[in-house]
Symmetry: none
Subunit: 405 residues, 2 copies
Amino acid sequence: MTDLNLMRSLAQSNNTKIVLLVMDGLGGLPRELCGPTELESAFTPNLDRLAREGMLGLMHTVGIGITPGSGPGHLGLFGYDPLKYMIGRGVLEAVGIGEKLTDKDVAARGNFCTVDTDGTITDRRAGRISTEECAKMVALIDDITLPDVELIVKPVRDYRFVLILRGAGLSPALNETDPQKTGLKPLLVVPQDKSPEAKHTATLVNQWVLEVADRIKDQRPANMVTLRGWAREPGLPGYEDIFKLKALAIAVYPMYKGLASLVGMQLIDGINNLEDQLEALRRNWDSFDFFFFHYKYTDSRGEDGDFDAKVREIEKVDQIIPRVLELNPDVLVVTGDHSTPAVLKSHSWHPVPVLFWAPRFTRCNPDVTGFGESQCLRGALGQFNAASLMSLITAHALRQGKYGA
Amino acid sequence: MTDLNLMRSLAQSNNTKIVLLVMDGLGGLPRELCGPTELESAFTPNLDRLAREGMLGLMHTVGIGITPGSGPGHLGLFGYDPLKYMIGRGVLEAVGIGEKLTDKDVAARGNFCTVDTDGTITDRRAGRISTEECAKMVALIDDITLPDVELIVKPVRDYRFVLILRGAGLSPALNETDPQKTGLKPLLVVPQDKSPEAKHTATLVNQWVLEVADRIKDQRPANMVTLRGWAREPGLPGYEDIFKLKALAIAVYPMYKGLASLVGMQLIDGINNLEDQLEALRRNWDSFDFFFFHYKYTDSRGEDGDFDAKVREIEKVDQIIPRVLELNPDVLVVTGDHSTPAVLKSHSWHPVPVLFWAPRFTRCNPDVTGFGESQCLRGALGQFNAASLMSLITAHALRQGKYGA
């Protein structure tokens, strides 16, 4: 187990290149007792070759038996202890759409929802309105003003938006207003501690919600909002500071871009699919040291409970491996931020399969013939905590000095 | 993971005998993808037999992905957390030549170097002068006196010496004076904190360096000195206190003797080769419980990048195993303090192979047929942190009581 101060003290510059390829929710489970998992069912000749040349292992991104959310899962992957650093959803959404947060900001994630005439919620996601529709709704409310505070409202994706309050004396110690089921009304914001800041912020937010409700009451299907995930920017030390790495995040979805930006990775716009991602990787290869390459749909199909569709997503990623290798990375890690077994239709606690490829500095493991959970069990990396991943990565990239004389 | 207070509370006396045979830098890497490592290439019939009878594993002496220096590597082996206990080079060199340090001492490692007429360093190691030459140089400067402090200067090996300042109000918070490359002048000593002790010590050291420079300016090739590794004796609890073990270090090189003495092992002089070491082991068998037997040249040949020569050094150690077994040790552990793969020509982060032999108390592992990194991967000990090694050793030596009722 390593800590960030140790990493900072050992970090060395080099011109080696590192790719961290994350298939979100990669880890899976068999459909029947002792059957293959999604990864083991997938035809992955390229990943299998890398597994034979590299090292496999199973990684706990938060801890043994703990089911990680996307935030903690990625923080763990990135080398930050997710039990130490907590990041609220409001911050994730804000940085995910490129908003720069200051230390005077409090951010919340908002949902547009549908309420009936007496204000009871009938659809918590307003029929999952499109991102374009969401932007039109935000335009109706983004000029609301309140005393002593700057308000920033931005559409995120589908029915989701972000609300940022910027000013002195604010606090994120507020409850969420989504009652979590239909048939109930949105909740009042109440301070969660006794500080004057929380009381002040609660008063401001309730005022804002009333004004919003008034402005959109005649719209359909979105005619109300709920707020949750109140948070401040966490002030994490960044990749350049800790690891001497210039890092680029190549991701489609805002939340993963947001997570990456919190650790100082640079973001890139206009990425909509694997083709865009590969092109961005190629185009930026000379300008960065570390590339976080995020693929979402393995998790999405796991959440859907569609085993076969998740297998196909894994196979799509396998197909791009040769194009990543053409760039000659020194270290390529293929893993997930958590498991999302189709049979569970949700994130799970199962450790994540890791394929660590840096063959110049790897001992052979004749027991391994391909990439899959059972083979990872016998892998050279054993089972380890995500806190060790960045140490292994920087060591194999020859970017880490000796500890002590 | 165990801590020293737990070890102390469980330690029991017994008359069992323990040998910790350390091949420095034992762990290696293949020369080509999936080839054998140095250890796997070596013909080691004796170690292979012990591997079949005992247990194998892979050990992290500092942490996963961390490259240990010799000091932290050995401290880890000895059961002390190297991230908690830091030992400066000055102390290592001093105790390595048998100097007893007090809590009033500050020690530095010195190098003789060569400077040109304007004081610029042209050779940081003065042509690597011999130990004899070094002793002659030290004789020219070991009677320098300064007010309020006792000065001890001793030759170490080749161009290296040790400087000890003994007195009240000293501090090791000083910079090193070696600019780390030729073409630059030695640096002035500057206090590294605001304490009066650091200022006082810096003043004394600068005075001393000026006097040294004046005395040896006409010598060749050594006509100047640099100083580094300022440190105090760390005050580690010893082996007798923690483990109830009378321990003897049987090592050729000063630094390893120094490390052993810091944990309370007794040292022995006049050891120059394996034959001397075996004879010392035999002669002292009845007087000690624990024998730290250190073999340096596996690391040296790894650092040279000479794969075949490292293989031969491993084979030399294999050949002495029957003579160690003749003494009937209860526990024999064969391992390294870190890896030094010839392909890297340096210490590395790869976990160290461990052969743990105490066959009366070991379960059979039919997967293991010999000693090598790949077999260690399948070993009964798995991958573990060095903090657990002494617990395993004392347990198998029946020198450790039950924890709790």
